[in-house]
């Protein structure tokens, strides 16, 4: 039986973290969807049980995808550049509205060489983080292509999109203001939520990932609620009392873990 250590204290979410810019965000509600809050309150296990979401991070070579994740997951910043081979992976655990929730963070390689295998890693993502370098305008221009590739493997209607500018510490406030205008425009076009961060100073990194986790969690619970409601209509579950004995041992275990 797998015993998980308790979730870190600073990974507990009770209120919905707010967006970064109202002009380019996924929604502007200031709290979680009421259906989600009440479902979590009731702790309807099965509906709101332990869940996982997959998040992929894409973007040009050396825009700082790995650094951003390392800042958040390990709270470190390494100035040396090490290219990602294929994909890096991190698992981050949260507790949102009292429900355990894991984010799988798949940090893909920006190198051209690995583009051919990327689709393998893109599959089944609930959120896509498209990253660009605030100090490099061409990396912003390439974000649309990255998004297009990532969306090929996923259902565009159900996946949450984020556009993140990194390396905010490298540019002056005036340069930033200009860049932000362009970025917000791009974000609106792709219907993504815009953020800017600095992995060096840590500015906005935690806030950003909390927002990602919360919105992904919310969307995932809503989708599940919708599904169970649909299933309730017309479907009958039949249990044959003879067959049950066969599963007795596994059933027992299941009950234990859901308590």
């Amino acid at each position: 039986m797998s015993v998980l250590p308790p979730v870190r204290r600073d990974r507990i979410v009770a209120d919905l973290p707010q967006c970064f810019k109202k002009e380019a965000c996924l929604h502007t509600r200031d709290s979680f969807h009421s259906k989600v809050t009440s479902a979590c309150k009731q702790q309807r296990t099965g509906t709101v049980g332990f869940r996982i979401s997959k998040v992929i991070v894409v973007g040009d070579l050396s825009v700082g995808k790995t650094c951003m994740i390392n800042r958040f997951c390990k709270d470190v910043f390494d100035k040396n550049y090490k290219a990602t081979i294929g994909v890096d992976f991190e698992m981050e655990r949260f507790e949102i509205l009292g429900v355990p929730f894991s984010l799988q963070l798949w940090d893909t390689a920006g190198q051209e060489r690995f583009k051919c295998i990327a689709s393998t890693y893109y599959r089944g993502a609930q959120a896509i983080i498209v990253t660009f370098d605030l100090s490099n305008i061409s990396s912003l221009e390439h974000t649309k292509q990255w998004l297009q590739d990532a969306l090929k493997e996923n259902d565009p209607s159900s996946v949450l999109l984020f556009l993140v500018g990194s390396k905010k510490d490298l540019i002056s406030p005036s340069q930033y203001a200009l860049m932000e205008q362009d970025a917000i425009k791009v974000a609106k076009e792709m219907q993504a939520e815009y953020w800017s961060v600095s992995s060096l100073t840590g500015e906005n990194v935690k806030e950003f990932f909390f927002r990602v986790a919360s919105l992904t969690f919310e969307a995932s619970v809503l989708a599940e609620l919708e599904k169970t409601n649909a299933r309730k209509i017309g479907e009958v579950v039949r249990i044959n009392s003879n067959d049950r004995n066969l599963y007795q041992s596994s059933k027992k275990n299941k009950q234990k873990c859901c308590q």
Binding site: M1, F50, I52, M91, A109, F114, E224, D243, C257
Partner: protein, 577 residues
């Protein structure tokens, strides 16, 4: 929170606290290498690529991998096929594995320990029509080479990598290796999340302390997450019911043959059937370890072919899986042969069949069945047969059938082994015979007659309703390699326990008083002896508590402080030999 494990930064460390930091260390705790085997028109099968490129395989090993990675008969395996093979590593190979991993290995159940002399190959073979190629066919295998018998786990992993590789080539393998090189080591008892090509595989590595027959991994994730995360209920077990279904009237006989280490050959139409069946046979006596050689898939090109098929000696204690019809002739003198036909449709109720006389197996197209003149010691368990047959009629899920069969074998094996365990435990010397000042006493030798006497009162009849000649079965078993292997490991455990008890006894003595009563030479001798014992305890991982070792180390240090200064210096520096 670390990348993959559940227990924070500890995951990146070995039990002793060293960081596993060198590149490929993590990879090599799971795999030796990944090979791509293709077909060259001029050379035949060749290893086209190998990852990591610095991995070492001798030419002989490469040749073995080449032949074993392809089906060796015209069985037509069109499409994708998965199977497993096992081959002997070349002699003189240095252990390429990180030494810390042997520590990891120590808590594994016997049947999951790293194979010291063999490699496993987990194959994904693709054969499809391709008009653009000269031969008209695309034929390639991706093979994971490992020392670990995690059959089910590697089956899942290679299935995840290979189809992607065949589509997208090298970067895919590079990425897969990089994924694997980030996995935490397979430490027994840990639940691990292992990312591979966009999927997270959740597994629990069993320990020798697990209760046999219990599944330790409970999947708490929702089914909807299946495309991003899979939880494997077992890393090593094969589906016994599926594998035994072509011969399930004979499971009792087969269990005895495996238990006794009898030479056994499985002739099957495809490598996947042959390997599955062999692995099921080897696994059916679990938690006993099958100690003889076994080859889930064996070809006529194998370097042991001559050695194993010679007619000048009696057939060796081996279980083979073969597909080449040539073997029907080469091995027709073998005492026990299982012949498996093409897969029947699911739901088909097999008819009761008799064990066939060996004489009839001469031609290539002999009928499926078990060919043997062996007469089982125990009576057939009709109940399990009926239960399984009923299951087939009622279309009971194969997982449930498998669980029933697995439990049956487990109970049978345990009923058989418990009297032996009990007797062997009685060979332990009495606790009072252990003295701090004498070397630990030896366990008493195993006496067949003494053991047989215990069967009258505390034999298998206590736990099994099966009747038959249990005594005869034990007599035969005591001569078998499986008994030898089992007894050796029990004896080693006992010796270690005795060493540990003696250490504890030493630890509870006031050594300082002893030193004060003895000469300097004797004290120095004691210090050196104690140092040796401490080093031995650590090297052999004796079952002693850390506190005992620390206390004893403390005693050693105190004695040294009591000695004159010049001696003190030397003794502090002296490392135990």
């Amino acid at each position: 929170m670390s990348a993959l494990g559940m227990e924070g930064s500890e995951e990146a460390q070995t039990p002793s606290g060293e960081a596993l930091s060198l590149p490929w260390d993590r990879f090599s705790s799971w795999l030796h290498c990944i090979c791509v085997v293709g077909f060259d028109l001029e050379l035949g099968q060749t290893v086209e690529a190998m990852y990591p490129s610095h991995a070492k395989l001798t030419d002989k090993e490469k040749t073995s991998i080449c032949y074993l990675s392809f089906p060796d008969s015209n069985s037509g395996c069109l499409g994708d096929t998965q199977f497993c093979f096992r081959f002997r590593q070349s002699t003189g190979r240095k252990s390429s594995l990180h030494c810390v991993l042997d520590q990891v290995d120590r808590d594994s159940p016997v049947y999951l320990k790293k194979d010291p002399s063999c490699f496993y190959g987990y194959v994904y073979f693709r054969q499809v029509r391709d008009k653009t190629l000269k031969r008209g066919y695309f034929q390639k295998s991706l093979v994971l080479i490992s020392k670990l018998p995690y059959i089910n786990f590697f089956h899942t992993v290679v299935k995840q990598i290979a189809p992607e590789y065949f589509e997208r080539n090298d970067p895919c393998l590079e990425a897969a290796c990089s994924d694997i090189d980030r996995w935490p080591a397979p430490v027994p008892g840990k639940t691990l999340h292992l990312p591979i090509m966009g999927l997270v595989v959740k597994v629990r590595i069993p320990t020798k302390h697990d209760k046999p027959g219990t599944t330790q991994l409970v999947d708490m994730t929702q089914q909807t997450d299946a495309h991003i995360s899979v939880a494997l209920p077992t890393i090593h077990e094969v589906d016994l019911f599926r594998c035994f279904s072509p011969v399930f009237f004979h499971i009792q006989l087969l269990w005895e043959l495996v238990l006794l280490g009898e030479p056994l050959v499985v002739m099957a139409p495809s490598p996947s059937q042959s390997s599955e069946t062999v692995l099921a046979l080897v696994g059916c006596i679990s938690p006993l370890k099958y100690c003889s050689d076994f080859r889930p898939y064996f070809t006529i090109h194998d370097s042991e072919f001559k050695e194993y098929t010679t007619r000048t000696q009696a057939p060796p204690s081996v279980i083979f899986g073969v597909t080449n019809p040539f073997f029907a002739k080469t091995l027709q003198h073998w005492p026990h042969i299982i012949r498996i036909g093409d897969v029947k449709l699911a739901g088909d109720v097999p008819k009761q069949v008799k064990v066939k006389k060996l004489k009839t197996l001469k031609t290539l197209d002999s009928k499926p069945g078990v060919y043997s003149s062996y007469k089982p010691y125990l009576n057939k368990d009709e109940e399990i047969i009926k239960q399984l047959q009923k299951g087939i009629q009622q279309k009971r899920p194969t997982e449930a059938q498998n669980a029933i069969l697995r439990r049956h074998f487990l109970e049978l094996t345990q009923s058989f082994i418990i009297p032996l365990e009990r007797y062997v435990a009685s060979l332990m010397p009495l606790l009072k015979s252990i003295s701090a000042w004498k070397s630990p006493p030896q366990p008493k030798p195993f006496s067949q007659e003494e053991f047989m006497k215990t069967l009258e009162k505390t034999g298998p009849q206590l736990t099994s309703r099966l009747k038959g000649d249990w005594i005869g079965l034990y007599r035969h078993f005591l001569r078998s390699p499986n008994f030898d292997g089992w007894f050796r490991s029990r004896r080693k455990e006992m010796m270690q326990k005795l060493e540990a008890l003696q250490l504890e006894a030493l630890c509870n003595e006031d050594l300082l008083i002893w030193v004060q009563k003895h000469t300097e030479v004797e004290s120095v001798d004691l210090v050196l002896k104690l140092k040796n014992k401490l080093a031995f305890a650590q090297r052999e991982h004796l079952p002693v508590g850390v506190d005992t070792l620390q206390k004893l180390q403390g005693q050693v240090d105190t004695i040294i402080q009591e000695l004159p200064e010049d001696l003190r210096e030397i003794l502090l520096k002296t490392n135990s030999s």
